[in-house]
């Protein structure tokens, strides 16, 4: 076994090229702020401009083919680009194309592939994934948004919620019911709705976490049928292209989530009971337990990354990775409260630990639902182990439990 991420000579040469390019093209002061509230319009604009430059270079979607806006590079190159970008803490837009591009690539029309896909891959346009509705969360297939065929168009009405981002989008990757009478799963179609289409009303939500997610009202929004992704009634399967990726299947290499390291560093200088907080035996046990947790998280990511890049078939590993993170964050929030007490809740410029990063984590840890709640991940893991909700489903599932034994 070899757990080390080693680099080829070609990768190291390429790394120099990336570093030089970033030195020349990265605007100063473009860095992720400690909390989302500090994320200004100005910073966002800078980030978007920079992303376009990255796209022109082909490094926004490095492994996608060149002729459709990617870089035509190998995974080896993509790793280097990813590492160099994350070193410099450049603000990016979540899901800018990550989940929608594969769906278009697999199911979209030639026109979409010629026009919209390249612009997504080059970082010119932003697409939001708009699946969740007020009454359709974990049970996504029960969504109610309607798309009624009218000539060459569809007319879409309904509401999406907890989607998108603080800053704007160009297209809304939307699931809607196109056949009111068809059975569950077979009644849905997928659309790319222009965000500026008449009838689209994007509203803010007052949320404690989640990066400024929005609610969107669609009021008789007219969309040409050419913007449907995949056949009518195939929307569920279009969405499935992206859900495995969303369920933690991608994995990543690199350092551990280092917030716990920063918290440990902070706690060493934090006085509790007349001594550094880390001198208390119970606090030590708590902090080390969290430290170990972040290490396990890193190993799960590393394993999934290795499985994906070496073409191994996933069983439960995607959801396991996702569940681990979704369990770790709330645990971190709860346990930090034991070590730092009420300080953990402060964003106060004087008393707030780590420039508000700890307080931010307290809020973000309440948001474990994106990409499927922990409970949904558990359902998926159990299913992959051979346990399903009905005896019939169980018969069809695997008959031997297996984990990733190498």
């Amino acid at each position: 076994m070899d757990f080390a991420q080693t680099y080829t000579a070609e990768q190291e040469t390429f790394r120099k090229e990336v570093q030089q390019w970033l030195d020349a093209n990265l605007p100063p002061n473009l860095e992720i702020p400690p909390t989302f509230e500090d994320y200004s319009d100005e910073l966002y604009r800078m980030g978007r401009d920079f992303r376009r430059k990255l796209g022109e270079k082909g490094w926004h979607a490095p492994t996608w083919p060149k002729d459709i806006g990617g870089g035509g590079l190998t995974t080896d190159h993509a790793i280097v680009i990813g590492e160099e970008l994350s070193k410099r803490k450049i603000p990016t837009v979540p899901d800018a194309f990550g989940l929608c591009a594969p769906a278009i690539s697999a199911w979209g029309t030639d026109e979409m592939k010629r026009d919209i896909l390249p612009r997504m891959l080059r970082g010119e346009i932003i697409v939001w994934q708009c699946f969740t509705e007020p009454e359709a969360g974990s049970d996504l297939a029960s969504l109610k948004m309607r798309a009624v065929k009218d000539g060459d168009d569809y007319v879409i009405s309904g509401q999406k919620i907890f989607v998108g981002y603080k800053f704007g989008a160009d297209y809304l990757y939307t699931l809607a019911v196109t056949d009111q009478t068809a059975p569950r799963h077979q009644n849905i179609s997928a659309f790319l709705v222009p965000a500026d289409a008449p009838g689209v009303d994007i509203q803010s939500l007052e949320l404690i976490a989640g990066g400024g997610k929005r609610t969107i009202f669609y009021d008789d929004v007219r969309v040409p049928a050419t913007l449907r992704i995949g056949d009518e009634g195939k929307g569920w399967w279009v969405a499935q292209t992206t859900l495995e990726l969303e369920h933690g299947g991608t994995g990543r290499v690199g350092a551990r989530e280092s917030l716990i390291d920063r918290i440990i560093g902070y706690a060493k200088g934090h006085t509790a009971g007349g001594q550094p907080a880390t001198k208390d035996p119970q606090a030590q046990q708590t902090l080390v337990d969290l430290y170990i947790g972040s290490h396990i998280g890193r190993l799960f990511n590393l394993r999934n990354y290795w499985m994906r890049t070496s073409g191994r078939k996933f069983v439960h590993e995607g959801s396991e990775n996702s569940l681990f993170g979704k369990t770790y964050a709330p645990k971190l929030a709860a346990k930090v409260l034991d070590v730092l007490g009420p300080y953990a809740l402060l964003s106060d410029t004087h008393y707030g630990p780590l420039k508000g990063e700890v307080e931010n984590q307290q809020r973000e840890a309440t948001s474990t639902h994106p990409g499927g709640t922990p409970e949904i991940q558990r359902v998926i893991i159990a299913r992959r182990m051979g346990l399903s909700r009905t005896p019939q489903e169980m018969q069809g599932s695997r008959d031997v439990a297996g984990t990733s034994t190498h």
Partner: protein, 378 residues
């Protein structure tokens, strides 16, 4: 990066799997657990004949000189089948101590015999003040004539009842630093003045109380430097602990498979109980614990074999995670199995006992987290 096993390791795994399936059915494990010395000399000899007793021992001393990860692959299968043997005491702990610090004469006389399975050795370290800190070694060794006399009590000594020789950690000098002044002695298993008693209870291995009453040891039976024993133990405990973790990972893998199989077949309310999400949750917990244990263990083994930095931390992480994983895993399995889980014939309790016994062996999670805290300069 490559997290797969090598072809040689795959081969070893499949040999071990077949061996365990053939030689070590559940009925046998239960018989060994309940009767006699807790192991079969015939089976032990078969294991030795396959070269397993000398896996870590260098070829020049009749062993195979293989890597820790290789041995771990074997240990996973041994742990899966709860294969009863003194392998860990003799061929891992004591063999590594001798390899690390034994005199040429000690190596020559003992290592080949260990590799052949002809000699069984056991390590006597822990005492009534149980723990894995140097300060907890108090059994005294006082100089007498040309040799030493050992007096005191060792407790929770695995495999001592069947050991031909013991490696005993004793205090030869009192000092400010408890790590100084510990010496390792080779003591005959039937030495005059040594009495042994197997401890009873809900234990997964035979553990002994050893009372040393002026046991005489000659000076040539000292292993390594006088007063320098603790450093040897610390060095040996790192790989030994990682290998032990692999044994525990194997056991938990088996527990998972039993639990899933039971969930799929046991019917209540007219359906398999595995259709209930509360039951599924227990299985999910086992899977998560198992994978955390597996990957922290193999990362530690990889670091050991390839001499990476951070071995000490990686081993401590692995044991903290794996001890907890095996204990929690068997708990969740009992929740799913309910009544049948406490049946001796069914045998889940054999894993539960093993998990709880190994929980503390070579340090429990609290001990290892404390080590990490000190590595992080807390």
């Amino acid at each position: 990066m490559d997290l797969s096993l090598t072809p040689a390791q795959e081969m070893l795994k499949s040999t071990a799997k077949d061996f365990v399936a053939q030689e070590c059915p559940k009925t046998f494990v239960r018989e060994m657990d309940e009767q006699g010395d807790g192991f079969s000399r015939t089976l032990w000899q078969k294991m030795a004949d396959l070269g397993w007793a000398g896996m870590l021992i260098p070829e020049e001393f009749g062993g195979a000189g293989r890597e820790f990860t290789d041995l771990a692959v074997l240990y996973e299968e041994m742990g899966r089948g709860l294969l009863p043997s003194p392998h860990f005491s003799s061929s891992v702990l004591c063999a590594l101590i001798l390899m690390e610090a034994g005199s040429p004469q000690q190596k020559q006389s003992l290592l080949p015999a260990i590799a052949k399975g002809e000699q069984i050795l056991a390590l006597a370290l822990t005492e009534p003040d149980y723990g894995w800190e140097a300060s907890q070694v108090t059994l005294s060794a006082t100089q007498s004539g040309g040799g030493y006399r050992l007096s005191g009590t060792k407790l929770f000594v695995h495999d001592a009842h069947i050991a031909d020789s013991l490696i005993v950690a004793a205090r030869t000098r009192q000092g400010v630093n408890p790590r100084d002044g510990i010496t390792l002695f080779l003591v005959d298993g039937n030495a005059a003045g040594l009495s042994k008693r197997v401890l009873t209870g809900f234990t997964g291995e035979r553990q002994n109380e050893l009372v040393f009453n002026n046991v005489s040891v000659t000076a040539d039976r000292v292993i390594g430097a006088v007063d320098g024993g603790w450093g040897i133990l610390e060095k040996v405990f790192e790989p030994a602990t990682a290998v032990l973790c692999a044994y525990m990972v194997g056991g938990l893998q088996e527990v998972l498979e039993w639990t899933v199989a039971y969930g799929r077949t046991r019917q209540q309310f007219g359906v398999p109980i595995g259709t209930f999400q509360r039951v599924q949750d227990h299985v999910v917990e086992i899977v998560n614990h198992l994978d955390a244990a597996r990957w922290t263990t193999y990362e530690a083994l990889w670091k050991l074999d390839t001499h990476q930095t951070g071995v000490t931390e990686a081993v401590a992480v692995a044991k903290a995670v794996t001890s907890e994983a095996y204990e929690r895993g068997t708990f969740h399995s009992h929740e799913v199995h309910a009544g049948i889980g406490i049946s001796k014939e069914y045998g889940l309790h054999l894993y539960t006992k093993k998990a709880r016994t190994l929980y503390s062996y070579l340090g429990d999670p609290t001990f290892h987290r404390k080590r990490i805290a000190s590595l992080l300069a807390m």
